[in-house]
């Protein structure tokens, strides 16, 4: 975890410095009447201190574990793929509408992540989309995007 801690500590330290700068820009006010940036500024300092401590502790450790070791034996491509599909789904949802976008999303996920037979994928995605739409849009009155086809 040594390299992982150095990287995560550095990211958090940067975030802490950002909070300090933003807090100062927002205004610290006076002690008798703290401003909008008062808490953000001081929490930024605490975060920077903690992040520095994480980095220093990691530098003092002798193990040489790499970042790659964190993903040893893990199928990270599958993770990246699902995140990408989700982002595309979110992008397509307003245009395509809930029913069309969800049908495609489920079909793609059923067929490509751990591939199911066409029969399972087609029936599964159609039945799940219909059930979700009936439950949320019809029974519970949830507003779902209708899209260009007006289906939602």
């Amino acid at each position: 975890m040594r390299n992982g801690d150095i990287l995560s500590g550095a990211v958090l330290a940067a975030l802490g410095v950002f909070f300090i700068v933003e807090g100062q820009d927002l205004g610290l006010g006076r002690i008798s009447n703290p401003g909008s940036g008062f808490m953000i500024f001081w929490v930024g300092w605490i975060l920077t201190a903690m992040a520095s401590a994480i980095v220093v502790a990691a530098l003092r450790r002798s193990d040489n574990s790499t970042l790659r070791a964190l993903w040893a034996g893990a199928n990270w491509r599958k993770v990246g793929y699902v995140v990408l599909i989700m982002a595309i789904y979110a992008w397509a949802l307003p245009g395509l509408g809930f029913i069309a976008a969800t049908l495609v999303l489920l079909l793609v996920l059923f067929k490509t992540v751990e591939p199911q037979s066409w029969r399972v994928a087609l029936i599964g995605s159609a039945a799940s989309t219909a059930a979700a739409w009936l439950l949320f849009a019809k029974a519970l009155g949830t507003q779902l995007p209708a899209g260009a086809f007006g289906l939602g």
Binding site: L7, G35, M39, M50, A53, L70, V79, F110
Partner: protein, 500 residues
């Protein structure tokens, strides 16, 4: 007599058909998501939060509370039969519960888990009934300084009790505090950290944050691993524990109930920690500790009782002080606020029907759970047979619907996906999401009380030290955070973390 009259008032609310229905829906969904690995009570409650917008506050809170304590029941089924905890509080139930199942004693293991949960859940409600009114009377005396220090103490306990590094947990709490402040400043209406985005003026949404860090991140972690699920396939046999089983389980259930209830009240304690500590206590107190890990029924009864009692105890700080002690209660606080209610010392006075209705519904919910869990275990086992490859796209879909329906905003869906990736990386790099989420919820309250206290004292920080309750909270918080510097205490804390 007060208690009897209050309970009667509560029962008159809880027994209304519509509230009974929502209580049933809550415990049913709770059991279902408890059974299913990969979706916990936090994600399920976030998902159903928007659904509660159109129902009465009583029904909404009754249903959401039911999901929470229902999931504690359901989690044990997966742990015993599949050796995969349905949710985090059932991790230790795997150790002896699954061993019992392997030895042909799945029935009694499931039975004692359900009975132990029922007994502990009921005892916790009794405790809540007696303790909450006195604590609420006491809390009326709290001013901004006391509230600020109490929240600092709450966060410190959570950070202290988190697994692994205190420094990492503290860093997460700091990030959560600032994330909670994004949006319009409630005191001078100045937008903060919004980057010109209109969607951020109201602040980051709790639901996308929680769904991302807990729901999506959990799915991503599960996806990269191959989960070997071996469902126990022989007949369950009788679910009723034998006389001998009861003899061995009675004391662990009693101890687990007390321990869980007390830890549930503490901020940061909660169901997960109490089940681990109960297991450690039972192992230490056992006449034959060598049987633990090989199917000791006390190793199932104690932790299952503890996690249910903790679920009940967690309601005390929320309902009497308005301070959520854990992430689940933070979501319930969100539900209260959505319905225009502010939990705190005045809730019991201003809305006694709501307060006592929720308490009474928990009695009823516990009885429903006993009925749901024992005869319907066969059905829950069938649910477990659904492969994860089929299940995860559906969970993802429910997460999207849940987040979208809160504010009909695609921006929130992107936020959830983003937080999902952040949560996945946090797990990889050894950071816990719970301190971040609790600090996120407490952030605005904490800042508000800090600023009010400083305005009232004209900038004199001594106000925090001169008020006895505030000073006590801050001293305990400082001791907790500094304790890892003492080698002996650090060793003890690391031992607990290791056992977990």
């Amino acid at each position: 007599m007060d208690i009897v009259a209050n309970l009667a008032l509560g029962l008159s609310v809880a027994l209304q058909p519509i509230n009974l229905l929502y209580c049933f829906i809550g415990v049913f969904i709770g059991t279902l998501i408890g059974v299913l690995p990969g979706i916990g009570p936090v994600a399920a409650m976030s998902l159903l939060l928007p659904v509660t917008f159109n129902i009465t506050p009583e029904a909404a809170i009754i249903m959401l509370a039911g999901i929470y304590y229902g999931s504690m029941y359901g989690g044990s089924t997966t742990a015993i039969l599949v050796n995969i905890p349905g949710e985090a509080a059932s991790v230790v139930t795997c150790l002896d519960g699954h061993q019992m199942a392997k030895r042909g004693r799945a029935g009694p293991a499931l039975g004692i888990a359900a009975f132990g949960s029922f007994i502990a859940g009921t005892l916790a409600i009794v405790g809540l009934m007696f303790l909450a009114p006195s604590l609420a009377r006491f809390a009326v005396k709290f001013g901004p300084a006391e509230y600020f220090s109490l929240m600092v103490l709450g966060l410190s306990i959570l950070v202290y009790l988190s697994h692994g590094s205190i420094i990492k947990a503290l860093a997460m709490a700091a990030v959560g505090l600032v994330f909670g402040l994004i949006g319009i400043d409630s005191i001078n209406a100045m937008p903060r950290l919004t980057f010109g985005k209109l969607e951020l003026l109201d602040g980051l949404g709790l639901v996308p944050l929680v769904m991302g860090l807990f729901g999506i991140a959990e799915i991503l972690i599960n996806l990269e691993q191959k989960i070997a699920r071996e469902i126990f396939d022989t007949r369950l046999g009788s679910l009723l524990p034998t006389k001998e089983d009861w003899k061995e389980s009675a004391a662990p259930i009693a101890r687990g109930s007390l321990l869980g209830f007390l830890l549930g009240i503490l901020p940061g304690g909660g169901a997960v920690l109490s089940s681990f500590i109960s297991y450690a206590v039972e192992k230490r107190m056992a006449k034959r500790p060598e049987t633990f890990g090989k199917g000791a029924i006390a190793g199932v009864a104690g932790p299952e009782a503890a996690n249910n009692a903790a679920a009940g105890g967690g309601f005390i700080p929320l309902m009497t002080l308005g301070i959520p002690p854990n992430v689940v209660m933070a979501l319930l606080l969100g539900a209260f606020i959505v319905h225009g209610l502010q939990p705190g010392p005045l809730l019991m006075v201003q809305k006694p029907d709501l307060f006592w209705g929720i308490v009474a519904s928990m009695y009823i919910g516990n009885i429903m759970l006993l009925v749901l869990n024992l005869p319907l275990i066969g059905m829950w086992v069938q649910v477990l047979r659904v492969p994860y490859a089929i299940l995860f796209p559906l969970i993802l879909l429910f997460c999207v619907i849940g987040v979208y329906s809160v504010s009909n905003s695609i921006f929130d869906v992107y936020l959830m996906i983003g937080f999902g990736v952040v949560g996945y990386l946090m797990k990889k790099f050894g950071f816990e999401p719970a301190p971040l989420v609790l600090a996120f919820v407490l952030g605005p309250l904490l800042e508000n009380n800090l600023r009010k206290a400083l305005i009232l004292s004209q900038g004199d920080f001594a106000t925090f030290a001169l008020r006895p309750i505030s000073a006590t909270c801050l001293v305990i918080a400082a001791l907790l955070l500094l304790s890892p510097l003492l080698p002996k205490l650090r060793a003890q804390r690391e031992a607990v973390a290791k056992e977990e």
